[in-house]
């Protein structure tokens, strides 16, 4: 579909959606939101590019290889954060009892393992949505 209005609007709106998605992911322990919702917002912006331009423009932004690496890397990072808690000394996926620095409550870098896990979950959900969309679109060929 070749529509000038949709193209220019999505080109203007996409950076703001992506910044908002990153904001929701990084402030998951401070405000409503978190890894799942922020990742969904970020993935929706990539889907918007592929819908308003064409599939090649979307694949140019984030290729299949990159998407699958980010997907697996997000899940692996979650698991390794849990394993790191064991190595430091504590239970699996423990936060304060394993010795993660909690910081001042209310600041951006606080909460110890919560921020790390939220970022990994956000990466994973965003790449999941993109991979799902690409595969469903290409499945008709």
């Amino acid at each position: 579909m070749e529509d000038q209005i949709v193209r220019i609007t999505s080109r203007l709106v996409t950076p703001f959606i992506q910044v908002y998605g990153i904001y929701v992911i990084l402030h998951g322990h401070l405000s409503p939101g978190g890894g799942f919702s922020g990742g969904a917002i970020f993935g929706a912006s990539l889907v918007l590019v592929a819908l308003s331009f064409n599939l090649e423009a979307g694949v140019k932004q984030i290729s299949h290889q990159t998407a699958s690496i980010l997907e697996s890397g997000g899940a692996l990072g979650y698991l390794l954060t849990g394993m790191a808690a064991i190595i430091i000394g504590g239970n699996y996926l423990a936060n304060r009892s394993a010795g993660f620095p909690l910081g001042q409550a209310g600041e951006l870098f606080s909460g110890g393992a919560i921020l790390i896990i939220t970022v990994f979950v956000g990466i994973k959900v965003a790449s999941t949505i993109v991979t799902l969309f690409y595969n469903i679109i290409e499945g008709e060929e």
């Binding site: 998951g28 409503p32 978190g34 996926l93 936060n95 409550a105 606080s110 909460g111 110890g112 469903i136």
Partner: protein, 112 residues
């Protein structure tokens, strides 16, 4: 009252079956769904009111989260501290469900 209701349902059934000509299977499904909605509405009416401090869900578990959640996890957002710190293993299972779902989609839809 109940007689009026029964007579009304019978008249509506006969009207739908013979005047409009609805399929008997469709009628049966229609009434079964109506019965299910009727029974479920009783369940909803029996639920405790929302936000009442005497509710059975307001026990020592949410009290512990609300009182010492910030000190124990360092996160101001209590929901985030529950799903990623107290219930982190549950969230790991949730991420695994997502991973398996996307693996199944790629395995079935990947165009070769």
């Amino acid at each position: 009252m109940i007689y009026i209701l029964v007579i009304f349902i019978v008249i509506v059934t006969l009207f739908l079956r013979f005047i409009i000509g609805v399929d008997p299977k469709t009628l049966f499904t229609f009434y079964l769904l109506g019965l299910i909605i009727f029974l479920f509405s009783f369940t909803v009416a029996e639920m405790p009111p929302f936000g009442n401090p005497d509710n059975p869900t307001f026990n020592e578990v949410p009290r512990r989260y609300l009182e010492s959640g910030v000190a124990e996890t360092g996160a101001v957002n209590i929901v985030s501290s529950v799903i990623i710190d107290y219930r982190a293993f549950d969230t790991l299972g949730e991420a695994t469900v997502l991973f398996v779902a996307i693996a199944a989609v790629v395995a079935t839809l990947k165009s070769h």
